[in-house]
């Protein structure tokens, strides 16, 4: 296992800076996700780490060694591609053996390690097949086995699960997490799916516009978003605009909420982010606590595990609230009058038009 350091990494194409001075430290055995919308530079960073793209400036260190100018075949990496990138003319076993053969592994050791790698991804019985004879999920597991077989210092993932259907994706997430924990692999995982990033990662590096917005554990990124962009990107947010009035945020229409953020000056126009799951909903008879807003349920959306309510709180102001399906409040119906409240530390405000939007 190796550590990874990115130091002021920049990638520029002609006039456009795709990656703007990104620095990141990944410890041995750590699982870090690069999360962000498409075009945020996350895949570019991964390809630079892999050696498939040359950075415009900056340094890449693997295990303390500067590899910035080394070709991909001298970096001791594994890479799992979104497209699987299996060798179609080789059998599953030969695909897995490819990297091992380059290390000079031969004979009984070779077949032993191929069998072991395939067993780890539960494909021990399919060694003789060709990739096109396998399903998408099986192909991605072969790609995984092929990457881990040579025991790389760092394993890179380029949106490996996004070609799989939803259920298979969740299964693979669990398998991947188990495998990574068992092998203690240093992993960099590129994804645009926040749930995937939160489920799998030790730390998330959230990116937008070629810049790191926040690096932190999934809890940190979720509970204390560093920028307005992070607050908007993570969770299922209500996005509103308002104005600071002391410690309260005026949302217009006579609606105001208390925010724990007291760094912004009075009168500052702000973007307000309220997570659906943070919006507490209660029948009008209950006392929903301080800062409660009254409204009427417009829509009730049954989602299975949860129920979503669209609540009109004032002229032109609607909020989405979400409760677990088992919750007694899940039985509220359209037309019901309700009280909504949000804890002050869950009211995220950021200056309107701030960087990272």
């Amino acid at each position: 296992m190796s550590s990874l350091s990115l130091r002021s990494l920049v990638k520029r194409y002609d006039e456009t800076e795709v990656v703007k001075s990104v620095s990141l430290e990944v410890a041995e055995g750590e699982f870090v996700s690069l999360l962000g919308p498409s075009g945020c530079g996350k895949t570019t960073i991964l390809r630079m780490v892999a050696g498939l793209l040359a950075p415009t400036s900056g340094q890449i260190l693997i295990g303390g060694e500067d590899v910035t100018r080394l070709p991909p075949n001298r970096r001791n990496l594994g890479l799992v591609f979104q497209s699987y990138a299996l060798f179609p003319h080789l059998t599953v076993a030969d695909n897995v053996a490819f990297g091992l053969r380059r290390l000079g592994v031969k004979g009984a050791e070779l077949s032993g390690r191929v069998t072991e790698a395939l067993a780890r991804v539960r494909l021990g019985h399919l060694g003789d097949r060709y990739p096109r004879q396998l399903s998408g999920g099986q192909q991605q597991r072969v790609a995984l086995a092929r990457s881990i077989a040579p025991r790389p210092g760092i394993l890179l993932f380029d949106e490996p699960l996004s070609n799989l259907d939803a259920q298979l994706r969740e299964e693979m997430q669990i398998e991947l997490k188990q495998l990574q924990a068992e092998l203690g692999l240093t992993s960099i995982f590129v994804t645009h799916d926040q749930h995937e990033a939160m489920t799998l990662s030790d730390r998330i590096c959230l990116m937008a516009g070629g810049v790191i917005q926040q690096i932190g554990t999934p809890e940190e990124v979720y509970l204390s978003p560093a920028t307005g962009f992070v607050a908007d990107f993570i969770g299922s947010p209500n996005k509103l605009s308002g104005t600071m009035r002391g410690a309260r945020v005026d949302l217009g229409g006579g609606i105001a909420l208390t925010s724990a953020n007291d760094t912004l000056a009075d009168g500052t126009p702000v973007r307000v982010t309220l997570r659906q799951e943070d919006v507490a909903i209660a029948p009008i008879a209950d006392d929903a606590g301080a800062g409660a807003i009254e409204g009427t349920i417009r829509l009730r959306l049954f989602e299975g595990a949860s129920v979503q309510f669209l609540v009109a709180v004032a002229e032109g102001v609607e909020l989405l609230a979400r409760v677990a399906q088992q919750d007694p409040r899940a039985t509220l119906a359209p037309g019901d009058r309700v009280r909504l409240s949000v804890a002050p530390e869950r009211v995220f405000v950021a200056p309107a038009g701030a960087a990272g939007a």
Partner: protein
């Protein structure tokens, strides 16, 4: 058979008639002709014989011509492949402007008649042609190099003429190689050279085979270029068939030689397909 199917068959009727009248019938007539006896005195006889075929496959004169034709085909195909592969890769990996320009340049020679192009090569390669005159003038050689009326001249001419076909068939074959596969090999510690030989080349094999079969068959059956650049002395099968029909008026002999050429071509296509299927089992078709 449903009415729909029958009305669908009408669509292929014109081409069926064309093939029967324009290809199958003449081939059958040629086949019968090749089995007729012939003598220089009385012309085409009316008894049946295998003499023409036996003549072709036992007479050292014909065997030399057959061997020479096959050798020419192999050399032209190999050279086309060697020249076309890097060119196809270059075209595929350049930007859209360079790509369009280079594909146009590849196709451009096809717009020029083969007779004209072969004559152009004669002007260049002749004993007193431009190349020899220039080399003598520069004092590099004392006597003209033999560039024409032999294997060298015919090879140069045919390679230049068939190169576009090979390039145009290799481009889609290389394009079909999935984008990340070569990157995957590099990351698994294969050198660029090894990646080329173990990944790129095998995956391009279907295109290599198609291109090679096409160029080979075109080379062994080419008439104009070998006739012009090979001259009267350097004979290949196609020129000899022409000779039998037009000069010797030995139609049965010419027909037999033509059938031998056809059988060789068909056998090669069949063999190449068999090999191809075995080597590309993971890429296309095959058992599952």
């Amino acid at each position: 058979m449903s009415a729909r199917r029958i009305s669908g068959l009408w669509l292929i009727a014109p081409v069926t008639v064309l093939l029967v009248v324009g290809f199958l019938a003449p081939t059958a007539i040629m086949g019968m002709l090749s089995l007729r006896n012939y003598s220089g005195m009385s012309g085409i006889g009316d008894s049946w014989t295998l003499e023409n075929y036996i003549g072709v496959i036992t007479d050292p004169f014909y065997l030399t011509i057959i061997g020479r034709t096959l050798l020419l085909g192999v050399i032209v195909t190999a050279l086309c492949l060697l020249l076309a592969f890097p060119l196809a890769l270059f075209i595929l990996r350049s930007g859209p402007k360079v790509q369009t320009a280079s594909i146009l340049l590849v196709i451009f020679p096809l717009l020029c008649n083969i007779v004209v192009r072969s004559f152009g090569w004669m002007v260049l390669l002749a004993p007193r042609g431009i190349i020899n005159e220039a080399l003598i003038g520069a004092g590099l050689i004392a006597h003209p190099l033999p560039l024409m009326y032999d294997l060298t001249g015919v090879t140069i001419g045919l390679v230049q003429i068939f190169l576009p076909f090979m390039v145009l068939l290799l481009i889609p074959a290389l394009q079909n190689i999935p984008a990340d596969v070569e990157a995957a090999a590099l990351i698994l510690k294969a050198s660029r050279l090894r990646t080329f030989f173990t990944i790129t080349l095998p995956l391009a094999l279907p295109g290599i085979l198609t291109g090679s079969i096409l160029v080979f068959v075109l080379s062994i059956s080419a008439l104009v270029t070998p006739r012009m650049l090979g001259g009267p002395t350097y004979r290949v099968m196609a020129t000899q068939i022409y000779e039998e029909f037009m000069t010797n008026l030995n139609w049965p002999g010419g027909a037999a030689l033509a059938f031998v050429l056809t059988v060789i071509a068909l056998a090669l296509i069949w063999g190449a397909n068999r090999i191809g299927n075995r080597l590309t089992r993971g890429i296309s078709g095959g058992n599952s």
